[in-house]
Each structure stands twice: as structure tokens, then as C-alpha cells.
Symmetry: C3
Subunit: 340 residues, 3 copies
């Protein structure tokens, strides 16, 4: 399968030996390190010039029939490769594949410089190696770091800082926030607006000024049309390496731990704190003022009303430990359907 | 009821006979084909110059008291019309009403041409009959078809194709995608950005380059602030006539079948394939790698973890056949509340 | 705690006596009205120059140890204040705190005038005291009231009215709507686009022209990336003082009652009417054509399929009265887990 050349610039080809070196993997016994690979593809559509991977046993049948020229495989499955498919050994085949894919599809270089159709306040400091696209609006006091890219029609409000090698997508808007290095903010994301804070009152709700910021550490991703409100007094903090998908809502004063993964349409209410490497599957909702321990995982669609200890998997609404949830579910089905 | 003339240009009036012809409906016996109708309105607010419809027996009481000048009605209810309301017979009254409404409110014509406040790369090919509004940014290699309309501050990235008679709303952004004819993309929709693909790793998640596209076939609608990620290797595909509401998330490699309807805030995780005419009610969530058969329907708020056969209606989280869900629900209520 | 001066201009300091007057609260016996406060902060981080509040008994331990210079407290807890913390008496401490916070952090003044990088149709009427930021697009016939502020890259379509002192955030888009006074519309909100109305048909769904408007009354807030469709024939109406959070979906013909609060990612399907002071917690979903009575409250993640009487609290999917929901839940857990 070939990536559409209208949209992708492909590097390579690379030899199998080069790819092994780039991906911290090893040539299997007898593999021909000199063959050239021109691209990457899933097992079932890969051809002789493509590199693929087998991560999950579930896809073993596809592996047995793949036409891929080469494949990253865990050593345990190496001898199952079909004839014609060279094997690169890796204990983390998907990670190796990611590295290879990054080699074939390097991040597109943007030409440095400020579009003459951008609107940049003279008091903004834009690194000469950064790029600012047409229609972007950069207010006074903004700092844009080396090689950072500001997309078309994005809006960067007063005094916001965007770190080195970070990218802000088309139409996104940033205010009251400090963005680290190598952060990717996708199109339409909204960062730093007022949190949803007011004193409810029958005579009219009274707005509480939201006097915190949003701090986004290095290597974070924030998906398209996601919203991250600034803190009400404390800051809202997204720690290093967190991955936030599309249409996710992060309330004021929330902390998202390092390496956490928040899948699409999940939401975290105000002042809740996620430890590192927490996973919220899609459409998960967390009430406010909770503590979710390091490495905890929430099943899709779950609704969380209580603190979750580190390392636990929870599911359901109201959420409970997943093992208990599924055991209860099985009992309930038996009770209602008379099975078993 | 009159549509606000500040916002709507109304065509007509039309005679009852003209309307019958435009809408594939028939004048009831004795109906006066010469009377003129000036607009459309729901039964309960329609006046003597308005055309209305009765689709659902539930609204029969409103029909019996309507002041509408004329009404599309199924033949079975034709003789229930109040005095003063002429009857147009149709087996699909709502469809006939839609056709009449389109006649009264034709799509607003946009003046062809490129705003001198748009930013259009000289390498883009814009059909002379297309329109590009102020603030829109059109990058190199983009093709905009005949009579297509690009809204204010929309961003169309490198080499994207927008087909004839399609419309892109204000502030929407398109990249890595091919858009068919007569497609409507509403304000703020985000199409073609990277899918949420990375190799999770405690040393830092590794991004997988997303090397597919988004293919949107003819006659599709994509709602405001919805997000459709491009494929990871395969393409993400939205087939002909699919209707996608606001704030919907479509993950990478997803296929949405022809004529499918995805109501607001529903989400489809990566690589799931919907057959034709699937209906996802509001806030439905589908896990990844599923197959949802042709014509399957999901109840609102359901969470789907399994494949669904064609034609079935499912409900609940985890979703199950709706009949079973409701039977279980009734049993459970009886069990807990001692009823019955 | 000090608000980041890059992002916030702080008024004051104010004396305790001044603050009492501004906030309709009273100096406690023996309080020193002459001390000066420079800012606001939560109990646990406040210092001697900060003003704080105790609203909820749950935070009494923080109150007992606070270092705040002064604190709004209900009279019942006034004598529990630690030494060094002056007391301002209020029966609504959070409301008083909101008023004080507004005094310390007055709304930022925007310089009146139209950016020469905005695109304003000569037929638009912009009050001279209003401001229009760079990249904003204002179409013909639009009216912008006194002191209203239109953010960068916002799009205001033909004949839309924005009332006095209202604000439209960056990148938001408005069409077919009339916006009252003191309304805040956050970044990326989409107001007035077509509702999701069509006659479903195997030969192709037929669009129903959506001929209503969105009416937004005074003092409303609409969160970032939220979407409010215009009416299909009736209007969609958001009544005075309603607060709508981020990523909320409001379907066509919906009415949201005065003072209602719709928390993030909630959704209301077409033609449903909320009474005044209804609360939808996060991720709530309401089916179409429902009536939700005045003061009704929905628990987070609930899915509502029936009308709800005034004043009731409901929970679950399908939603039922919360008391019943929780009683059933306890019974079910006992049944499944053999407890009690």
C-alpha cells in the first residue's frame, strides 16, 4: 500500500539492516539485511516492499498469510513467518514499527517565517526558526519558541508561551497558558478559557473570576476540538507526555499525570487529579475532586464518582473495580435470563 | 408563522397544484388546486397560508385542530382534515413536506468568486463558479469544484479536493482528505488530522505516523465541531449520503456506510466498520475493530463492545439486543421493586 | 497565591471594611476593618494578604488551618476561625467571595474600535464603543451593541445581532441568531447552524430547511466548542442567565430555561424544553420532545427518556428518580454480592 503522494512525503527506501538499527531490533537468523523496504502497511495489505508488524496474537492468521517484505515480530513467533517475509526480531514489535514509520514519514518541515497574512503584534517574540501561517493572530507579549509552528487562523492570546518544536493546529485558540516543548495541539482545541465557575444563585449566577492558568508540559498531545479550562485559583496542569484525544473536556484545576492517555470524548470535572499513566477509555466521565491513582484504567463509557487506587481497572456507572463489575454482570444475566 | 426575513429568503407563493407536482403527492378529492400557500409550519402554529404535514399518528390531535391552509397527509387520515385545511395525499408525508420546504426555502445562492480577504495559494485550482469567503486559507494544490462554497476563516490544507456543490462552514479545517460532491461540512468540523495512534510505552508514547486519508463520498453531511481522523494506513471512509451530527468523533480507519445516521456526541473508535443505513442515536459509543451490520440501530447512550448483526436494534452498556435489554430491565425492576 | 501578572490585572488592595460593603457581608465582632487584602485564594493556599471563603462544611479542616488574612464564613462557623484570620459574615459565603473576586479581577477592558485586520461589511452597524479583533469577519446587516467584544477570527453572519456588553470568543461562529446583552460566548462555539433535520429515506435522506433562529437572552454563557442548532420552524431559545459549559450540544427547537446549568458534554435532543433552574450534570443526555420541570436536577452521565416533574432529582440510564435509583442500586449490590 502506498501513501497518497499528494499528502505524504516518503523517505527511504531503507535496507532491512538500516531498519534494524533504527528500531532497536535484530535481524532474524538468515534474514537478508540488504533487501530494501519502501514503506509500511498493516499485515493484510502489505506487499513485498512494505514493512509490517505482529504485536497481538489475535492477528497471527494475518501474519501467516501476509505478503509483507518484512515484519517486526516477537522472537516467540519468528519461525511462523511465511516464505518471502523477512523477520526483524523485537520484544516490542509495535514500538519498533512506530520508529520505522517515523523514519519513512518524517514530520513535515515547515518553512520558517511569518506569513505576511498573519497578524502578529510587534510586542510578540517569534523565534526566527518558527513558522506562523496565514490568518494566525498573535497578540502582544506572546513567545513562540524555535521551530514551533502556528497553524492558519490559530489565535494566541496575550503573553502565552509556546515552546520549542511545538505545533498549534489550524483554528485552535490559546489563552492564559504556558505550553512546553514538542507539544502538539490539534485543530480547534481551546486552551485556557475561563473554567465553569460561579456561585449559583436564584437571583442570577455570579461568575467567579478564574485566576489560574493552564500549564502544558513537554511532549503532550491535545486532540482536535478538545477543551481545557484554566484553573480557578490553582493551575490546570497537563504533565509530560500525556496524550489527549479529540473532543475531550478538562475542567479547571484538573491535573493529568505524565503519560496518561485520555481517549475521545472523555471528560474530567474540576479539581480531579489523575496520577501518571492513567488511561481513560472513550466517553469516560470523572466527577470533580477525585484522586485517580497511578496506572489506573477506566473502561469506555464508565462514570466515576469515587477515588480509584493506583493500578486498578474500573468499569461501569457508577464505576467499580472491573473484575467486580464483570462478575456482577454475569450473575445478573444469569439471574435475569435463567442461564447457567 | 413566518420565517425571519433577516435570515431567510422565501420563494413562492405556490398553488396547491404546483406543490402537489413538486412533491410527488396528489390533490385529495375536492381539494382546490388554485389556492396559494406562502410558507411551511408545524401543525400547531400553521395559519391559512401555511402548508403543514401529519406523519405520526401521535400528532393527530394537532391535525384535527390545525389552522393550516393545507397539509400533507397519508390517505388513511385524509378524511379527518378540519374544515379549511386542504389535503395533499402522500404515503410519505414528511418526505413530501421536505420537498415543499426545499421549494419555499431554496439554498441561498452565494456570489461566485474569491474574497480579496481570503488567502489563496496561486497553486490552488478554484472553479470560477465557486466562492471563497473572507479569511479562508487555501493552500497549494487544493482543488475546489464548481459552485462549492468555502466559508469564512475555513482552512483547506495542501492538495485537499472539495467536490462540486459542496460547502465548508466557517472555521472548519480540512487536511489529508478528498471530499465528494454536494457534501456539507458545518462550522468548526475537523477532518483529516492525525488519528490517535501511538505505541504506548513507559519511556514515552511513540507516535505512529498516520499515512491514510479521509474519503468523504457524495451527499454526506458532517456536523458542527465534529472530528474525523484520517486513516492510520487504510483510509477513513464516509460513504454516500451518510449524515453525521454535531460533536461526533470518528476514529482512524473507520468506515461509515452509505446513508448511515450518527446523532450528536456519538463516537466510533478506530477501525470499526458500519454497514449502510446504520443509526447511532445520540451519545452512542462504539469500541474499535467492530462490524456493525447494515441497518442496525443503536439506542441513545449505548456502549457497544461487540459486533452487531444486520438489521438488529441494540441498547445498553454493554449493548445487547434491545428487546432483551428491555425484557431484562422489566424483570430487574420487578425484582428490585416487588412489582408485578 | 498571586495570579500570574502576565495574564491578570489585579485591582485593589481593598480594606476589609471596603470588601464587606462590596459583598453585602458584615465584619464579625472585633474584626479589624482597616486591614488590607490584596487578592483571593482557596483556603489551603491563601496567605495573610488573601481573602478566602468557607462554603461547605467538608472544608472545615482547611478553614481551621488556613493562613488567609480574612475569610467569608457563615455566622454558624465564625467562632472557629484560626487566629490571624479575620471573619466576614455572610449567609452566602461563596456568593460574597464571587463578588470580592470580581472586585479584585475586574473584566479586562478592551480598547474600543475595529481592527484594521478585521473584515467588516460596510452594511454592518458596529457601536463605536464595541471592539472587533483581527481576523474577525462581520457580514452585512450585523448589529454589534455598545461595549460588545468580537474575538479574533470569529465569524458573525448576515443580520445577526449581538447585544450590549456581550463577548464572542476567538474562532466562534454565529448565524441565524439574536444574542442579548451581557452574553459570553466562548471560543469555538457554533450557534445557529442548521439543525439535524431530514426526512430519512432509503433513496437518500432529504434535508428539511431549518427556518427558525437561535434566541439567546441576556446574561447567558455558552462554553467553548459547544453547538446550538437553530430551530426547524420554531426557535431554539436559551433563556436569561442560563450557563452552558464546554462541548454541550443543543438540538433544534430546544428551550433552555432561565438560570439553567448545563455541564460539560451534556446534550439535549430536538424540541425538548427545560424549565428554569434545571441542572444537567456532565455528560447527561436528554431525548427529544421531553419536558423537564423547573428546578429538576440530573445526575452526571444519566440518559433521560421521559418527562421529569419540577424539583425532582433523577439519575441513571434510563433515568429515574435518584432516590429510587440509589435504593435499587443498593438492593442490587446486596443481591449480587450477598452483603447485608
Amino acid at each position: 500500500m502506498t501513501a497518497d503522494p499528494r499528502f505524504f512525503d516518503v523517505a527511504g527506501p531503507f535496507t532491512l539492516a538500516q531498519l534494524a538499527e533504527m528500531t532497536e531490533s535484530a535481524l532474524a537468523d538468515g534474514a537478508n539485511g540488504a533487501i530494501e523496504l519502501a514503506g509500511i502497511a498493516p499485515l493484510e495489505v502489505a506487499g513485498p516492499s512494505d514493512l509490517s508488524f505482529l504485536e497481538n496474537k489475535r492477528y497471527l492468521p494475518s501474519f501467516l498469510e501476509t505478503k509483507a517484505g518484512a515484519c517486526f515480530v516477537h522472537p516467540a513467533f519468528a519461525d511462523r513467518a511465511p516464505a518471502g517475509t523477512e523477520v526483524l526480531l523485537s520484544k516490542k514489535p509495535y514500538r519498533a514499527y512506530a520508529l520505522a514509520a517515523q523514519a519513512f514519514f518524517p514530520k513535515q518541515q515547515t518553512v520558517a517565517g511569518i506569513s505576511d497574512r498573519a497578524v502578529v503584534d510587534p510586542g510578540a517574540r517569534i523565534d526566527p526558526s518558527a513558522s506562523v501561517a496565514a490568518g494566525a493572530v498573535i497578540e502582544a507579549g506572546v513567545e513562540i519558541g524555535p521551530r514551533a509552528r502556528i497553524g492558519a487562523n490559530a489565535v494566541i492570546a496575550r503573553n502565552v508561551v509556546v515552546g520549542a518544536d511545538s505545533a498549534v493546529g489550524p483554528g485552535a485558540s490559546l489563552t492564559h497558558c504556558l505550553i512546553g516543548a514538542r507539544v502538539t495541539i490539534y485543530a480547534g482545541a481551546r486552551i485556557g478559557q475561563d473554567g465553569f465557575g460561579f456561585a449559583m444563585d436564584a437571583d442570577g449566577h455570579l461568575r467567579i473570576p478564574q485566576t489560574g492558568r493552564v500549564l502544558v508540559e513537554d511532549d503532550v498531545e491535545i486532540g482536535a476540538n478538545s477543551t481545557i479550562d484554566r484553573g480557578a485559583g490553582h493551575d490546570t496542569i497537563i504533565r509530560r507526555g500525556a496524550m489527549i484525544d479529540n473532543l475531550v473536556q478538562i475542567g479547571h484545576n484538573v491535573e493529568v499525570g505524565a503519560g496518561s492517555v485520555l481517549v475521545a470524548q472523555s471528560g474530567v470535572a474540576g479539581s480531579t487529579k489523575l496520577g501518571d499513566f492513567v488511561v481513560l477509555a472513550a466517553q469516560t466521565g470523572l466527577a470533580g475532586h477525585l484522586r485517580i491513582g497511578t496506572g489506573a484504567k477506566l473502561a469506555a463509557s464508565s462514570g466515576v464518582m469515587r477515588d480509584i487506587p493506583a493500578g486498578e481497572e474500573w468499569a461501569g456507572t457508577p464505576a467499580m473495580p472491573a473484575r467486580k463489575f464483570w462478575r456482577n454482570y454475569a450473575k445478573l444475566m444469569k439471574l435475569l435470563e435463567g442461564k447457567g
